[in-house]
Subunit: 274 residues, 4 copies
């Protein structure tokens, strides 16, 4: 690498890690978010023109920023090794693709909306929070699977039983599962779902109440499981920490008492001989 290139890289690295640079990037992201919000209001065409140019300015700035951050890296590939950088790169380059097709305009808008997520990648506290959220995902996996099985079974039974009660709510298993989700959130579950069903099948309350209780029961147990999990990790951490304090001192005591024992044995032997 030539000296000039190295010099430029150092300058860019300084720029990148500068607090002021980060604040500007955050400000531009917020401007980008406000632009997206502004676009949802119907305004005069003049205002729309301004937003259009501002939007391209933001896109251009993001492009410059990502180039600076890539160029500041010692090895270009290192940049792509960190997940957040990759996320930023995809968001920025995707919004560069010119989409003129009116069919694809929705996708283009979605990509611009996702630029707001760059706020998460810029603020360390939010990044930590999101990382801990992602970490707790697998813990939820099997509970979600059991939940899905329960929804599927109740959906199938509900679709068989209440098919004729309301075609829109129980027409097929997919509609029935959506209706059951509505029941699980308690939204109009009695007035709009239970009572019409009870007019045809007076005992259908057994179906709904058992479903609600099963859901509540599994949800409660999931909560307990999570609390237990959190506590076990906490206890493990605590043991490691205290290990350096009390436990270590006790171990030191044991070793020294053992050595004293040997010494006392020797002293007693000598006294016996003398």
């Amino acid at each position: 690498m030539s000296v000039t290139a190295s010099l430029w890289r150092d300058r860019l690295e300084n720029l990148r890690s500068h607090k002021f640079f980060e604040l500007i990037v955050i400000a531009i992201i917020i401007v980008s978010a406000l632009l997206i919000g502004a676009k949802t209001y119907e305004e005069s065409s003049h205002f729309e023109q301004v937003i259009y140019w501002l939007d391209w300015a933001v896109t251009f700035f993001f492009l410059i920023e990502i180039i600076i951050r890539i160029a500041a890296e010692k090895r270009t590939l290192d940049f792509f090794r960190r997940g957040w950088n990759l996320f930023d790169f995809v968001i920025v380059t995707a919004s560069l693709i010119p989409i003129d097709d009116s069919q694809m305009v929705l996708l283009a808008r979605l990509l611009r909306v996702l630029r707001v997520l760059r706020l998460v990648s810029m603020i360390p506290e939010l990044r930590m929070l999101l990382t801990s959220l992602v970490k707790s995902l697998p813990r939820m996996g099997y509970v979600a699977l059991i939940m899905f099985i329960i929804f599927y079974i109740y959906g199938a039974i509900g679709s068989f039983l209440f098919h004729d009660v309301d075609e829109k709510l129980w027409g097929n298993i997919a509609l029935a599962m959506l209706t059951l989700f509505q029941v699980a959130t308690f939204e109009s579950w009695a007035t709009a779902v239970l009572y019409p069903a009870m007019e045809h099948y007076p005992y259908s309350w057994i179906y709904f109440l058992s479903f609600i209780f099963l859901n509540a029961f599994i949800f409660l147990n999931m909560m307990i499981g999570i609390v237990l999990d959190v506590m076990q990790k906490e206890t493990a951490l605590q043991e490691i920490e205290t290990g350096e304090g009390e436990a270590a001192e006790i171990h030191w005591l044991r070793e020294h008492v053992e050595r004293q024992q040997a010494q006392l044995d020797r002293i007693e032997a000598k006294l016996d001989r003398s």
Copy 2:
């Protein structure tokens, strides 16, 4: 037992415990679940015919599978000792019973739906989760009883008071308890239940608010009780674990210091004599 039979049993046992065999069974269960889902959609008769034959193929496969698993057991009775095996056996044999009566077709469908639950018995993580769910059932028993007593008392009072307000909601104690369950889930409790009642009895809000607070209060206390319970078990486990570490070392120290004491006594006595 003849040698050939024993040889066959070993082969079946290998087959049963083979990862590939388990994956096929899980796949067939999922196919069975999808068939149940497909049946809820109204399709052409040709498609229905395909589903009918697939359904019998699945039933036949499950029969073969359960025969393999029984035959692989050293003693046939051992198979029925484990709850999950019994559950599988009942589900599979029940779906073999030919039900032609149109009245009983619902029961036949229900039995086929329950085959989805075999997924729980096949995946160890789900089996563990369900076992822990069942274990926490008794803990909920007495709280459920108190809840039922409260619902019964409020149901009786509500039925006496609001009998004339809305026959459909408060006609008898069973309807009143269902209405109270609707109130407990906050579904249209104010607009559809409280306000009509308040038009006749302006002070009926006392009835509803006291019921809601009592429910919330008991639910909260139940949650606390569960957290306490979980913590006590956690603490007990921790004590047993740490018992091998710190506590054991302290006990070792005590014993050795006692022995040193005796030795020092002897040394002092010898010095006095000399």
Copy 3:
């Protein structure tokens, strides 16, 4: 006290503490509960007559039972010292008062409904649960007071602001607080309360959202407070328990090491002299 009286008291005490006697009382309470439930159904006059006589039979049985329990006590006043006995006595005697006035028939029915609560006083597990519920009441006191202050302030503001929007919902502070409770339970809070208010005052969402967030925030903190409280009590209990184990052994060690120290000092002094 004469010998015969003492003999009878012993017999009654044996009867009272007999498991079979308790089971009969529980059975009669359940019969009493079922009678109350049956009365809410409109039946023929013949059936009503049967219920009427059964009701008096239950009342009579309860009277006999409470007389047995009072007579079995060595000192009659001891019976009234325990809260649950007093509760039973009030419930039983109150239902003896003949109420013919049609105006008071509701009160008479309420008293009969409360007899179901005797189930709680008969089953020890339920009695324990209720005692622990009552114990946790003061803990909730001050949080309830803060909640009431927030409801009162928002109720007053809401009544001032939305008086003209809906007289039924915001007519005075009492109605406004009831409406706010409906909002707190999320029942039709947006469709029936927020949107009509926003048509008059477009910024009224600030009022509702701030109220909901404040409520959720205080509720969450109350939960944390309770968990903390439960943990502190748990920790205190644990310290007392482990105090007999580890801490005691460490104290023993300290005392003995101190004695060894003195002994070693003496031994060294003797060696110096010799």
Copy 4:
């Protein structure tokens, strides 16, 4: 300061710290709160006149009370150093400003309503509760920010997608976010929001279900985070407390065993020499 002034200050200080004085202040605050409540009822003009004079009497009493409390302070500025005093001072002086403008009458009423909050500053238990509530605010900050970003992104997408479905619910990003808040509270989310949207876009359930799951997931994790936080603080407190007991004794043991070691070395050396 003259002797008379000092004497008066002592008298006022005694008055201020008197339990009876505090009870009177609390009573007057409750009267003030009841007056505010009474004003929300439409009554005859005679009654209104009474309330008007009572209101001024309360305002006057609060003025006197705050003057007493300021005068009782050794240095006047000390009074304003404590947040609660400042809060009381602002509330009392603000309600003294004569507001005749009918436009500002709402503000005047609001200031009078806030006088109810003085109850919190007067009762120590409520003051403690509120302080702990304020302390837990920053903990919620970043979670609230992530929540807001999710609402903003879903609001923008919802506004783009469902603009034509319902102008009132999805007209612009602000309305869309309010609708999403309604969905988050499960209020008519299926009947009034999801189903109309599904008539235009059959796959819009993905949008709503992903939003609900994301919300529930973040809320659950926030709860876990808070429990963890509370536990860590609890553990830290515990360590400090137990530090004076067990840990200190172990440290004492270590020091003494070290000294015994040195002594034994000396004894052994002496025996070798002799």
